[in-house]
């Protein structure tokens, strides 16, 4: 029985913190652009320095899509 006094509050607290995290994520707009998150992985850190030529190549790819 004494174990329950610890385990039940722990279970509830973990559940609550998960819920609070979910609420935070929603308010923070984490779910606004799910497809975009998948695409952004592909952007290089160096994207800022890509030359005009690279950009043109991207354009071509994107025209063919």
């Amino acid at each position: 029985m004494s174990g329950l006094a610890i385990l039940i509050p722990v279970a509830l607290l973990m559940g609550l913190s998960g819920l609070a995290f979910f609420f935070w994520a929603m308010r923070n707009g984490q779910f606004e652009d799910l497809d975009g998150a998948a695409q952004r992985v592909l952007i290089d850190d160096e994207a800022q320095t890509t030359t005009a030529q690279d950009d043109d190549k991207m354009d071509e790819n994107h025209d063919k899509v």
Binding site: G15, F23, M26, G36, R40, A47, N61, H62, V65
Partner: protein, 710 residues
């Protein structure tokens, strides 16, 4: 990586920066994201830019003195077509889904924790442990039910207030009775508390609502990205010759606005100075530009194509002819709001049946003499076991899967009721221009040109906004042609494009109407060449109409165009047609058909179809349609091909078939479970298993629709 584009510390401090949103439908890859974000971030006065890939929108945070159309221009310079998004007219219900998701999360949390405790009760916890667990369950369940149950309580309350009943009434009664009884059981150290059943019921039902809401939001966002929006404002010329920017809602009659070539008009007015071609496609769906000069009336929402003009405003804001049509549509759409959705229709019969069953069980066991406590337990078990999960979850699950499948095929369905109405349609009316046809001129004989001629034609066409130029440009770009280098390109309103190419004079003359098609002269030096253009029938129109016929929807064309051009299309697609129909005629035909018991599907695009789209039982518009058309229609298809229309009807009919199957499954499950409940053999454990099993089965059945849109 993926840092939000750099926020300059000093600039970001100024709190009065503005966020403007733009629809950029051409965002298709990671390269587009970085190109737009980095491209805009480098500009002066722009604090940050963030692309939303899912909705194909860009949110730009900028200083107040930078105008929206300047940013739009910058995005266009980066190589993307952009539209300014004003306050989104379709987004008003967006917050609703967020609320439902929060309620769902809370219900999920409560369900898991209460289940944790309930499992130990079911596996034999006795005495004080069981009481303690029941008390903890109650402490979790009551706030969770209070928070997550609100959508049902408020909807049931609304229905009861107006003397009606909907699906939420039996749900609410079930929830309140079961919670009250469980609380009583807990207080009196009873053996059975139904807290987990109640919370689980709420969780499953909320899941259905969330699915429904997400489907609506997704379609609405997709459609709002297509909207072409009337101008957000205009450049006003004051008496003293100064110009200033005035937003649409502050425009007043008798102001004079300067409209540059390529700009939309923000208000109705009369041209004071200048002459230009205007594209009325937004209003009528007709692609052919009209030439207007000094003294002519021009309407809000039309596009100035060729030359700058000064317009004296005659009507602005709510008084424009655009708003008049919107009002006509509101009235036409009234009757559609009386449509009762399939789940609520079923609830009409289901709820009284379930309630009287529970009541009868209570009376029977009272007479049998088991005491009111036991009798009440049994009737609550009946209520819980018959919970309308199938109605609450099965219908939206089926519709969400179907609309997701259709979305991948380029058809956006606005909500579930649209799918239901689409499945009921038994007649179809088509508009001609822009609906059965592409609504834009497509060149027919470009392959006769030599490569240099094509390059010159492309270079000339590129510099103009005229629909004919756009048609030539799109066709040449599709053929991988690169434009020639031209000097001194200029556009003479009403005449065409001219330029010099090396030493030769080149020109693309204005289109001339030859019988049923347009012809436009390309001049290179002394050579002349006629490019023939035609507003072609959409690809697959014939087979789509054939399919619709097989699905039980015979079609008719009703067009505002003259008899000769309608006859040509009607021959091409093999349908009877009514020509020269005014918006009222279309409305009249639809009400005549509805009066004789037909459910009409209207497919149309222009502003003149707006009232008909709103009045028809269900309607579909192409993505190239006017804003008005897209807002009035229940579904929008984005491709050039006409097949999606047939596909949408076919998928809708298939969806209703699945929904009916789900009802049968749900009733079958009740036939098995209700006798158990009536005889008092249902414990909370059995109720929980039965409920989740039935929900899983109907959702599984709905998932079969995933491949339906093929």
């Amino acid at each position: 990586m993926n840092a939000v584009t750099p926020l300059d510390g000093a600039k970001a401090d100024s709190a009065d920066n503005i966020v403007s949103r733009f629809a950029v439908p051409a965002i298709r890859c990671a390269g587009c994201i970085s190109k737009i974000e980095n491209g805009l971030a480098g500009e002066q006065n722009i604090l940050s830019a963030r692309v939303n890939f899912s909705t194909k929108q860009v949110a730009v945070s900028h200083l107040p003195d930078l105008r929206e159309d300047a940013i739009k221009h910058k995005i266009e310079q980066l190589g993307f077509d952009a539209q300014i998004l004003a306050d989104n007219p379709l987004a008003e219900e967006k917050g609703g889904t967020d609320k439902l998701i929060r309620a769902l999360a809370v219900a999920g949390f409560g369900m898991m924790n209460i289940m944790l405790l309930s499992v130990s009760v079911w596996s034999g916890a006795m005495g004080t442990t069981r009481d303690l667990f029941h008390w903890i369950s109650a402490l979790i369940a009551i706030p969770v039910i209070g928070y997550s149950g609100r959508p049902f309580f408020s909807s049931a309350f609304m229905a009861l207030r107006y003397g009606r009943t909907n699906m939420d009434v039996p749900i609410t009664i079930g929830i309140i009775l079961a919670t009250g009884l469980s609380l009583f059981e807990t207080m009196t150290s009873g053996a059975h508390a139904y807290f987990e059943s109640v919370v689980m019921l709420i969780f499953f039902l909320l899941a259905g609502r969330v699915l429904d809401g997400m489907m609506r939001d997704r379609a609405r966002e997709g459609i709002s990205a297509l909207l072409k929006q009337t101008a957000p404002g205009a450049m006003i010329l004051d008496e003293d010759g100064k110009t200033r920017w005035v937003t649409s809602k502050d425009l007043r009659p008798d102001m004079r606005m300067m409209v540059a070539a390529g700009d939309n008009l923000a208000a109705d007015g009369v041209i004071e100075k200048g002459a230009s071609n205007f594209d009325f496609a937004l209003m009528t769906g007709e692609s052919e530009p009209q030439h207007k000069m000094s003294g002519d009336l021009v309407l809000a929402g039309t596009l100035n194509l060729t030359a700058p003009v000064t317009v004296r405003i005659t009507a602005a804001g709510e008084d424009t002819s655009l708003s008049d049509i919107a009002r006509l549509m509101d009235e036409a759409g009234q009757q559609r709001s009386f449509y009762v959705r399939v789940a609520d229709k079923a609830a009409r019969y289901y709820a009284p049946a379930v309630h009287s069953l529970a009541l009868l069980a209570f009376i029977y066991w009272m007479i049998a003499g088991v005491g009111w406590h036991q009798s009440l337990l049994i009737s609550v078990a009946v209520l819980i076991i018959t919970c309308p999960c199938a109605l609450g979850l099965a219908v939206p699950a089926a519709q969400v899967v179907a609309s997701g499948a259709l979305l991948r095929k380029g058809v956006m369905i606005k909500d579930g009721s649209a799918l239901e109405r689409l499945a009921e349609a038994d007649r179809v009316l088509f508009d001609k221009t822009g609906t059965l046809t592409l609504g834009r001129p497509v060149p027919l004989n470009l392959h006769h040109l030599s490569l240099p001629q094509k390059q010159v034609a492309l270079a000339l066409a590129q510099a103009s906004n005229h629909p004919v130029s756009k048609g030539i440009r799109n066709a040449l770009l599709a053929g991988d042609i690169t434009p020639a280098n031209l000097d001194a390109v200029e556009e003479v309103p009403g005449e065409g494009m001219s330029a010099s190419w090396g030493t030769a004079r080149v020109a693309l003359g204005k289109p001339v109407k030859v019988e049923d098609h347009l012809s436009c002269q390309l001049t290179i030096g002394d050579e002349h060449f006629a490019i023939e253009l035609q507003d072609d029938v959409r690809p697959d129109a014939v087979s789509a109409i054939d399919q619709l016929n097989q699905l039980g929807l015979p079609g008719t064309i009703i067009s505002g165009d003259n008899a000769a051009s309608v006859a040509k299309i009607s021959r091409a697609v093999g349908l009877t047609a009514q020509a020269s129909a005014s918006p009222q005629d279309k409305l009249h035909l639809i009400s005549k058909l509805s009066a004789s018991g037909h459910k009409v599907l209207m497919v149309g695009d222009g502003l003149n179809d707006g009232p008909a789209l709103a009045a028809a039982h269900v309607s579909i518009a192409p993505g190239s349609a006017s804003d008005v058309g897209q807002q009035a229609a229940d579904a929008v298809f984005t491709s050039d091909s006409f097949l999606p229309v047939a596909l949408a009807v076919q998928t809708a009919q298939r969806t209703m078939q699945i929904v009916r199957q789900n009802f049968v499954l749900a009733i079958g499950y009740n036939v098995l479970a209700v006798p158990l409940a009536l005889t008092g053999m249902v414990t909370p454990l059995i109720a929980a298993i039965a409920m989740s099993l039935s929900s899983l089965i109907v959702v599984g059945n709905a998932l079969r629709l995933n491949g339906a849109a093929k």
